[in-house]
Symmetry: C2
Subunit: 229 residues, 2 copies
């Protein structure tokens, strides 16, 4: 006799879709998403989040432990992964087919992901040859709702002397992304960690075409896979 059972599939609002995505991202390392974390990510006031958390747990999309935080239910996770799939497919499509810069796709996809149909996403995915990663290297969930989980370390944490492949850039800021592209720091690039200054200092890396010094802040956004030298 609860709402989740009465209404089988009430379409989610844009707002709800955004909340679910936030919770997914904030809980990707395990644990709970906090009210303030969600509020910050969505740029809204914490009380608005509290209110929405109440509604979402009533509809069975999240599990809310008051004063502790929230987690996605299987149903909420499915919905979140669907949104992330849409977002990432759109990003690939915009860069591959419409000449978008990888710095500009995020904002555009953020609006489109709420408006596209399942059919359109699958047509795009098809036209792109079922891509597995978005332009920033993030894995694209399958239509069935599975997502690859890779063991990556940040460049800031990679040991000196290690050989790594840059796999994913954890940032959306257009200016930073443009800078990284200029520096040749795009997913797939093979790097060797040459040295690192102490006290959170910059990391020096070598690639096919020379060496670069990468500040700590940026290095912490570059997720790498360690490979054999």
């Amino acid at each position: 006799m609860n709402a989740a059972i009465r209404s089988p599939q009430p379409p989610l609002t844009r707002s709800v879709e955004d909340y679910l995505k936030s919770v997914f991202h904030l809980t990707s390392q395990g644990g709970f998403a906090t009210t303030s974390g969600i509020a910050e990510m969505l740029e809204i006031a914490p009380p608005s989040v509290s209110g929405m958390m109440k509604r979402l747990s009533e509809t069975g999309l999240i599990e809310h432990v008051p004063y502790r935080g929230v987690q996605l239910t299987p149903q909420g996770r499915r919905a979140a992964l669907q949104m992330i799939r849409r977002h990432r497919i759109l990003e690939v499509y915009l860069t591959s087919k419409l000449g978008y810069d990888w710095g500009d796709v995020h904002v555009e996809a953020e609006r489109l992901e709420h408006a596209v149909s399942e059919k359109l996403i699958e047509r795009m995915a098809d036209a792109l040859g079922e891509p597995r990663y978005d332009p920033h290297g993030a894995p694209i969930p399958t239509a069935a709702g599975e997502i690859e989980e890779a063991e990556l370390i940040t460049l800031a944490a990679a040991p000196v002397g290690a050989a790594v492949v840059l796999r994913q850039v954890g940032d959306e800021d257009p200016a930073r992304l443009r800078y990284l592209a200029e520096q040749g720091l795009t997913p797939g690039t093979r790097l060797t960690v040459v040295e690192r200054q102490p006290f959170n200092g910059p990391t020096t890396v070598a690639s096919g075409n020379g060496t670069r010094v990468v500040g700590q802040e940026l290095a912490a956004l570059l997720w790498c896979e360690e490979v054999a030298a």
Copy 2:
């Protein structure tokens, strides 16, 4: 000291965009759009329309004469044409680049038009070679806000014996559109009006590959240009 001057460009809501489009379509033959006409087109109750008309005339997008109807101001017309451009470019893109059937594009474009950026639309238009007509033959407004106005007659009104070219299909119903495509009745098709039964009866037309009988209801949706025999 009014709202229209105070706020230079408050982005329009989805709802407002839909109202403006309705008013544009309902006034395309001149005159006023009525409250009930808008209500019917948007599938909402007339009082909701009255309320919105008040708000839109306060913001300077429409001219409202109480109990008479509404017309677009130049500013409202610009906004409406922009939405129509988006809608029609999207329709062309979906059919040309993503294999959509001309019966399925309307619904998809109806949602997307509120989410796409100007930039995306222009990239799509560019990729398509700046198309001038949508898949149903409707003219696409230019980015500057100009739209072609053609003198067309419906097939139901075309004189017997006339040679015509089908230019535009004034309908969005997927099933009807699929039927028309099966019958070869798509924009650009050249037809000769062979005969018409009296009392709003069907019209018989001849084309390159045979003759067809078209009922009055359908014929009234087929907009044609009369050409030299």
